[in-house]
Symmetry: C2
Subunit: 393 residues, 2 copies
Amino acid sequence: MFEKYYSDRIKKTPSSFIREILKVIQDPKIISFAGGLPNPISFPKDELKKSMDNITRDFGDKIYQYSTTLGLDSLRSQIAQRYKKIWNMDIGIDNIIITTGSQQALDLIGKAFINKDDVVMVEKPSYLGLLQAFCVYEAKFVQVKLNDDGLDIDELKRVLKNDKPKLSYLIPNFQNPTGLTYTLENRKKIFNETKNQDMLLIQDDPYGELRFENKPRIPYIGLNETDKNIYLGSFSKIVTPGMRLGYAIAHPNIIKMLETAKQASDLHSNIFSQYLISDYLKNNDLDLHIEKIKNLYKSQAYCMLDSMEKYFPKDVKFTHPEGGMFIWVTLPEGQSSLELFNKAIAKNVAFVPGDPFYVEERNVNTFRLNYTNADNENIIEGIKRLSEAMKEK
Amino acid sequence: MFEKYYSDRIKKTPSSFIREILKVIQDPKIISFAGGLPNPISFPKDELKKSMDNITRDFGDKIYQYSTTLGLDSLRSQIAQRYKKIWNMDIGIDNIIITTGSQQALDLIGKAFINKDDVVMVEKPSYLGLLQAFCVYEAKFVQVKLNDDGLDIDELKRVLKNDKPKLSYLIPNFQNPTGLTYTLENRKKIFNETKNQDMLLIQDDPYGELRFENKPRIPYIGLNETDKNIYLGSFSKIVTPGMRLGYAIAHPNIIKMLETAKQASDLHSNIFSQYLISDYLKNNDLDLHIEKIKNLYKSQAYCMLDSMEKYFPKDVKFTHPEGGMFIWVTLPEGQSSLELFNKAIAKNVAFVPGDPFYVEERNVNTFRLNYTNADNENIIEGIKRLSEAMKEK
């Protein structure tokens, strides 16, 4: 009875498949590899409580009052310092806007930069939250195949030439959903192909800090070489997602447009949590905390990979992430991961079928596994059950 | 250099005039009646700190983890209970979505229900944050004059017939910017005129609890008589705005579309603050707290009104609010409140000129005063300065 009121954009926007799955699998009997949740034992609860005591004592009313749209200066300054230190980026607080989780950064970019039918280049497969966010602004997506070393350069060239994307969205580190990381060489090639293109390049990096293989960080595409990059980051995977704090780093003119978009969207992000995270960063060694998370996730990733080697049919392929939260599985040609999903649920184990990560393909033979939110015992048991589901006729 | 990337919608969206003004008047010498800030002495700081201690002790990881898009069940249930008690509304948690401040509810409604050039009926003058939020979705606004008793019914009839609005946005209690309240009779007339219209009616009510004149609450337009109403509420003016928690109440089918829009926008609102406010409501008497705020604002409102009676030129008119946060001033015909603004700033007193509250009119002779965020001494001094500015040639 309300259909006549719905906007065209919302009719086209898929409800998040993952969030629907998460509702289905509330049953505690189910071992879930479906979500993208950090392991709760990684939350620095005592330190955050200490920071609450600090800021309620030190900042009076400011932690409860309305605040500025761009975000708390001290937090923006801490972010700038971190990116200067790690990446030698020449940035200040004018390059940074705090967002309500990095999902909001995607919404704001959509608001500020996408007209109906504007072409947006994304990976194939891509983050479904991005597909959802930009679908709202009626973007036209083109997908470029992701290989083990990063974007497929031939496809990239073809898309740049034929489709002339206005925006591009990439997750170069421990990609969601595949867990793949672009090599340095691949990144250089991408920069060479894109640098003269009239295109803004978004690099979303929620997992970049979670490199558990002991190899050096790989610089962003076009780092310190272009003004057309938008870098997204988040405290969700390294401190706490519940506080909904992410950020975008870009040229001040881009930040200004995101600010206007944010005024209209939620005025500003929760200021209490901005003071909280700022105090946490001031009084704790974030790198030391990240080190603990990495050790935890490394053990969980290896446990899952080892179990997959041991139990999965040999014609099932999967990625070997060097960090982050996900493994991407490819079933033999012609098999459907949606069908496998139903069999798996019957055996009380869940994952995310590949379909929602693609713009067009359906009934694909790929799916996503998350290893960060289950203990090793459950990982082994879950993979066993999944293997049995695979072997069922 | 980035103009070519901007979306059409963001080019049309005005940056919030108020937020720009707030930047200008950081100077502590300036007495500001410009913002819409609650008085910080009204924040229940000790009680909120107590609730922090409670929830960090009782809820473990849940206050830091990802959560559901619709919001915390216990908080939604508390909201439902309150509306049942006050308004005898037959609602449950399926009728409620928690939003990142009630500004986000406006953004979500725009996302879910507005196509380019859809007609939206608003008051004249209207809340500028709404104009900004819906401008993003390229709504076509029609304004209906606001009289002392509410909407002008003749204009309303004409607009309903000629423009056939799909949505309507009203603030029936202590309206922003005018401070006016629709009478019961006016509300009944509006319901009679609109009930057979294919139109969703949004009633935004951030100030309704702040009725400091001792008269009974006036029911919403069409309360308990239609499924086409969307009610918006907020904890910003009665507990704390910094936590960014508002909500929408509507038919479950409407809530479902807002949920899809919210998934794409920020996944979910800060879950820590949802637990916090829920605990605060459980362990404190909100009505008792609101009583204190009302007494405070009553004294401030009367102080400002008395000063205005005493010092303003007699040909300057103004509203007499029975609650809320604002007084609306009308200068003699032909005078410009923008010009007065510049003179006032020179005398270190600030307000919001009327222009941004109108869709088309510019250089209007009206402006908004806020009395909640200054003490009585400053109110008297500020009104004196403003009167002097008015008398300047």
